[in-house]
Assembly symmetry: C2
Homo-oligomer: 409 residues x 2
């Protein structure tokens, strides 16, 4: 029996470094959606797809898609090419290059039935919205939502951005139902579980849901010198107390992997000599279990009502984003595990994903799976994010082998 086709680790590392060189920032990259380096990266990928016997297209939302004319089953694989601001080099490109490598290895191989098709989904990092690229592909993005989308950094409209990079007016490619046996995405773990247990491959069981809240505090704006402490209604202080109270209460109510974060705080008017009359926090909860979320959300409302009832500052809790958790396909998980036994010494772990990924969107129309490689120190969304070269190569080998098994099943 011939050896199975295998990933070319050096080629994978070279491609990832070539993408890092486009829009590099220190050891990471700065590639916001539709920035010049992001667009250059899209074209870089499109130019390489023919090496994998794929016809390349960049569509009207900025998705790159490589389509195969080969007979047999098709597996869709990919990730994204834009980055968070001043962030890491692997968050996104890793999954795209693994997909490209799988297509390069498997598609020309006559011994492999069918082909891997490659995708780079636009704006997974949410500069303009929430999973705009993959939602467009699954048919869950309206023209009106694109009309309304704006760059969170500079307020530029998405239509203007699409126009400026030559994609204005181009049609969007929507999934052909039944074409693909499923979707497969690799990603860095973005946490420290694999590293701390000396494991090489994470087999994602589910992607957590994200619930986001705007919590607003209304007090009384006043002069920071002349207003006695006793009569103040300081919205900023009310916010600080609320954040500390969350930190005390949530551990008693949450699940084993629940996480929650206050990512942004704004005091109004935000001047050193003015007691804040209003304050706002953006608060997020992630969990795989909606029942846990319900319990925590009820606690937030109860806490807010209790503060308001005291007669100082008024607190309101508004849910501004909900996301149901997405289950990954069991058979695909088994294929990753088998591939890990062949190429990673079986050092794999089934685990949920705490981060959101395009796979959760693709999972709404086809079976989906994800593979994680270790993140050094668990660092993510920062330019120091990294994975050991050897782990990147191991991940590529497991990824290619998993694709081969899925196409052969």
């Amino acid at each position: 029996m011939p050896l199975p086709p295998r990933a070319d680790g050096a080629r994978v590392l070279a491609d990832l470094n070539a993408l890092r060189a486009i829009g590099g920032y220190r050891t990471g990259v700065h590639k916001p959606t539709f920035s010049a380096p992001h667009v250059q990266s899209l074209h870089w990928l499109a130019a390489r797809l023919p090496d994998a016997q794929l016809a390349a297209a960049i569509d009207g939302i900025g998705n790159v898609l490589g389509t195969s004319a080969k007979a047999g089953p098709k597996l869709l694989a990919g990730s994204h090419l834009e980055s968070q601001n001043h962030a890491g080099w692997l968050d996104g490109p890793l999954g795209v290059i693994y997909a490209l490598e799988a297509a390069r290895v498997l598609n020309p191989d006559p011994g492999v039935s069918g082909a891997v098709e490659v995708a780079a989904w636009c704006d997974e990092e949410g500069h303009f919205g929430s999973f705009l690229g993959s939602r467009s592909f699954v048919g869950a993005l309206s023209e009106a939502e694109i009309d309304a989308a704006r760059d969170r950094n500079d307020g530029r409209s998405m239509r203007e951005a699409l126009e400026s990079v030559g994609l204005g007016g181009k049609s969007r490619i929507v999934a052909e139902r039944g074409r693909h046996i499923g979707y497969f995405e690799a990603h860095i773990e973005q946490g420290d579980t694999l590293e701390s247990e000396a494991l090489k491959i994470g087999i994602v069981t589910s992607i957590v849901g994200i619930w986001q809240y705007r919590i607003t505090f209304t007090g009384a704006q006043n002069h920071a010198g002349t207003t006695r402490m006793a009569i103040r209604k300081d919205a900023g202080l009310a916010l600080a107390k609320f954040a500390v109270a969350i930190d005390e209460r949530f551990p008693k109510l949450c699940g084993p992997r629940t996480v929650w974060t206050t990512g942004r705080i704004t005091l109004d008017p935000g001047a050193p000599s003015i007691i804040p009359g209003a304050a706002e926090m953006l608060f997020q909860i992630r969990d795989v279990d909606p029942a846990v979320i319900n319990q925590l959300e009820a606690e937030l409302h109860a806490m807010a009502d209790a503060v308001t009832a005291q007669g100082g500052c008024a607190v309101t809790v508004e849910c501004i984003r909900t996301g149901a958790p997405a289950l990954m396909e069991g058979g695909f998980q088994d294929a990753i595990e088998a591939a890990s036994r062949s190429f990673a010494g079986g050092k794999s772990l089934r685990m949920p994903s705490g981060a959101g990924h395009d796979a959760q969107v693709l999972a709404t129309i086809m079976p989906a799976a994800m593979l994680f490689v270790p993140s050094i120190g668990g660092i993510s969304h920062h330019w120091t994010e990294n994975t050991a070269d050897a782990d990147i190569v191991t991940g590529a080998e497991v990824f290619v082998e998993t694709c081969r098994r899925l196409l052969s099943a």
Copy 2:
């Protein structure tokens, strides 16, 4: 004996409303330093100074000065014409119009020896710096500091702003030492002490010092979905805990009128899906007693060291502004009290000022005094700030009478 000259209450109210109409915002005004409505207000005042037999000048820092050629003692009086953003109509203009009214009533009167000279100090509200106008007048502002000054709202340089309003390259007027018997400024109380005790006139005994701190928290920026709660170093949460701890500890260490405020909070990077790696709060303490400040500042450092020693987030406390309290002249206070007996039924109270005022700067080179009128609900630095018309008129009468007494002493 003829009746003493008396303020024209209707004229005072008309002038204050005329200034409110320039740059009006709801019932208040929006007149940042060197905005069009601010500059228009400066010229409005300059045009009215001749009515008080004063020669008008607008100097190279934006101060308006009215100078008298009358023989005898000179009393300097005034306040400021710019406002905080979207703030009240009386904070500043009240003291300027009282000074104008005193000059109009007393300067032409042959029975009054000497004259009131009128000043509007530029940028008391600190859009570009700290008391730039009055510090220029007392000779405590360098050219280098003007070179470095920038608008806190839009970053525009002060030089550029001066140039744009026609003051670029103009010389600055510095106080002629010995010319004035002292400085007198009226202002709204900006607190609720007078109102709550049904009093009409506050006689300021001292102006509190302001100490300001930048407190920074350094944690570890990471992904809000993939980083377990147990290993997080959340700089924003550390900040919230610190603010709450201040609120618990300071009341045990402070003086009877100490106030403290966290006016601004910044989380870095400030995105909903990223655990803040750094956070900063601008924190201010005001008191008339430096010994109290020393004790509170020592507590801040001890708290910061204790948090840092725990090994989570590192906290540093940096003092970025210190201001010694300024004592008001005792004889001037007596004159205000006597005037209050004549025109306010003796309903006066000696009290410190919790807010900073140009009077504290003028006090470094001459005797200085301040008079307060009541603020409705103690509201300040907000467009709803207000004082009853009758109280404005009473204040004007006490102000003019105090000026008369000081010039006659």
